[in-house]
């Protein structure tokens, strides 16, 4: 009968604190065979129980999972067309919670990683064309607080589960799924229960040194302004190219071309030197998901000798919630747009009017003088 030889269990390996080489002498103080750093197997802090290079396991899988869940949850929520609390709060709370739950790091590292996760999610959304550059930047700022809240929730959940002695690995799987799908559930609830979109009105005025007649002649849409727009409009709005159509009669349709679509505006009211109103009848652009333009107007009133007060009004359907976050941003963008247009009008009133081309000399001939027609004749004549 053969005797079975039982080998004693191999002790867990230990590694050098400087070079992570495996330390072989286990029964007395010694030095690392690679870098000669001393260690003492009897003193816990003088060696590592894991290799230094294996630390990525503590954060990389959780980080990647968090970014993937954040991007997919945002894309999933966006499909319903409803952009509210689920999209801007539940999504960052969800991926923040996954990050807090699935990573183990020092405090500063986890704060840094969460900022990196936000940046990665935003970068992924912009790359997938699910958000523009300006929206992505704003999104990053809005995500900060809910992500940190989720992060704390994730850390607390992990600590509670570990302290209560539950099987961490088992719950790791199920809790993650639950956290990952929570924004989609929240989105469904919000879509069903939330009321209609609200209408917002933004008005901006400017007093210029021009008579109401000159101000009327200078009326132009955003697409007609020649000077460069401020950076915020560059980032927040599509780039205007040109407009086609007249705006001197009610019922005329002006088509405005942008780098990513068009907007059709129908002139509804023309009161020379007083008011020009229009309705937006069709928008073919992605920005329609964030705010749907309804109508707008230019109002001109005399403001003293040689001065006019021009007021631009834009009415739009608000699509983004909560209003306390988005409305100030929307107002800022629209005010900037109004100011840009008003500045364009002001410059137009100051610009010298081109004289009509001089007729060639015709000896002996006598011609009736032509009526002086300039490109300023009608607002709709402007290119």
């Amino acid at each position: 009968m053969s005797e079975q030889v039982i080998e004693p269990p191999r002790p867990a390996p230990i590694y050098c604190r400087r070079c992570s080489a495996e330390l072989l002498v286990r029964d007395q103080p010694a030095a690392c065979p690679a870098c000669y750093l001393q260690y003492d197997p009897a003193i816990r802090g003088t060696f590592y129980s894991h290799r230094g290079s294996s630390r990525w396991k503590f954060w990389l899988p959780g980080f990647l999972l968090s970014v993937t869940v954040g991007t997919l949850a945002y894309a999933g929520c966006l499909q319903t067309g409803n952009m509210g609390y689920a999209l801007f709060f539940a999504v960052p709370v969800s991926f923040g919670a996954i990050l807090g739950y699935a990573t183990r790091m020092q405090t500063w590292a986890i704060v840094f990683t969460s900022i990196l996760a936000i940046a990665s999610v935003v970068f992924a959304l912009v790359s997938l064309n699910l958000a523009g550059l300006f929206c992505g930047f704003t999104l990053g700022l809005i995500f900060l607080v809910p992500t940190f809240f989720g992060l704390v929730c994730g850390i607390v959940l992990r600590s509670v589960l570990i302290a209560s002695g539950w099987d961490h690995a088992w719950y790791f799987r199920w809790y993650l799924w639950l956290i990952a799908i929570s924004p989609l559930v929240a989105q469904q609830i919000e879509t069903r229960w939330w009321g209609d979109d609200e209408i917002a009105v933004v008005r901006t005025g400017l007093t210029i040194d021009a008579t109401p007649e000159d101000a009327w002649k200078a009326i132009m849409f955003y697409e007609d302004v020649r000077h460069a727009p401020p950076w915020i409009l560059h980032l927040a709005l599509p780039q205007p190219i040109r407009s086609e159509g007249r705006k001197d009669r009610p019922g005329e349709v002006v088509r405005c071309f942008y780098n990513c679509g068009t907007i059709d505006k129908r002139i509804t009211r023309v009161e020379p030197q007083q008011r020009l109103s229009f309705d937006v009848i069709e928008t073919i652009m992605r920005s329609d998901n964030y705010a749907r333009l309804r109508d707008g107007s230019f109002e001109i009133e005399p403001a003293g000798p040689g001065k006019s007060r021009i007021t631009l009004t834009t009415r739009y359907e608000r699509k983004l919630r909560p209003a306390w976050i988005w409305e100030p941003i929307e107002r800022k963008v629209i005010h900037t747009l109004h100011e840009h247009v008003l500045e364009g009008m002001r410059r137009e009133t100051l610009a010298p009017r081109p004289d009509p081309p001089e007729e060639p000399y015709q000896p002996g001939g006598h011609r009736e003088p032509k009526p002086r027609v300039t490109r300023r004749g009608e607002p709709g004549e402007r290119r």
Binding site: R17, R18, Q38, Y39, D40, I43, T46, Q106, T107, W108
Partner: protein
């Protein structure tokens, strides 16, 4: 229970004034939150009215100053503090040195006998963490002696990293010296040596013969000698930086000894 690191508190308060104080479990967080809230409310309330004025430019600077002050306060809340501070005088001197070498000294007068001061100084894991950046000291043998390696865990502005050293000399009751080197090698990453000396304070003139009791005052000298190796930062800036760090070191010793 995890102890919040002082740099974590600093970073928290630098981001949100008061958050570090909250992490340090201090009620002063309320005052900082209030100050930050008031500043934010004032910026919101008067921001439009201050357009194009100098105050609008100053407002972010005030915010940054508030954050940094709050961060520093939170950090100090978590620093080790002795119940009965004994340091009566602290001085940092920078000896003239040539090239890239640095030679600074911190001198402290302590109301304690040299034997008591030595007992404090030979407790390396505690004494060496009375330092702006030393976070944890691991002695690679059971007792300190010349030739024993050290692992010096540093924490600078929240970033932890290890440096390695060795006790170069050990004179029981009088002092010791050790190196603090980068893991990349002894010629890079600001290699330096600490020399710690404990001595009886020289008697004040005329008092030498007045008392036969053992002196209850002693002097602690910490010399930092090293080489500024960075090519990106000029050596003059490096000297200034190390001098500032030594001043902070002296402050911590005043507080913690």
């Amino acid at each position: 229970m995890t102890v919040t690191s002082k740099w974590t508190a600093f970073l928290l308060s630098a981001l949100v004034p008061g958050a570090g104080q909250l992490a340090a479990k201090s009620w002063t967080c309320v005052a900082w939150f209030l100050a930050a809230g008031l500043l934010a409310a004032a910026a919101q309330r008067f921001g439009d009215g201050l357009a194009d004025s100098m105050w609008l430019t100053l407002l972010p600077l005030v915010g940054i100053a508030l954050s940094l002050a709050s961060g520093e306060h939170a950090k100090r809340l978590l620093e080790g503090r002795s119940h009965q501070p004994r340091v009566t005088r602290a001085e940092v001197t920078c000896a003239p040195s040539r090239g890239r070498s640095l030679n600074l000294a911190i001198e402290l007068e302590v109301n304690q006998s040299a034997a008591e001061l030595w007992r404090a100084a030979r407790d390396l894991p505690r004494f060496l963490t009375l330092d702006p950046f030393h976070d944890e000291i691991t002695l690679m043998r059971a007792a300190p002696a010349a030739g024993v390696d050290l692992v010096l865990s540093h924490n600078a502005f929240g970033r932890r990293f290890l440096r390695f050293g060795r006790i170069i000399a050990w004179r029981e009751g009088a002092g010791y010296s050790f190196s603090d080197l980068s893991p990349r090698g002894p010629r890079v990453g600001f290699p330096h040596v600490f020399v710690i000396e404990v001595a009886e304070s020289p008697p004040i003139d005329g008092q030498a013969t007045k008392s036969l009791l053992p002196a209850s005052r002693s002097r602690l000298t910490i010399r930092v000698r090293g080489r500024w190796t960075s090519r990106l930062v000029p050596v003059g800036v490096g000297r200034l930086w190390v001098w500032l760090v030594c001043r902070e070191h002296a402050r911590l010793l005043r507080k913690g000894l």
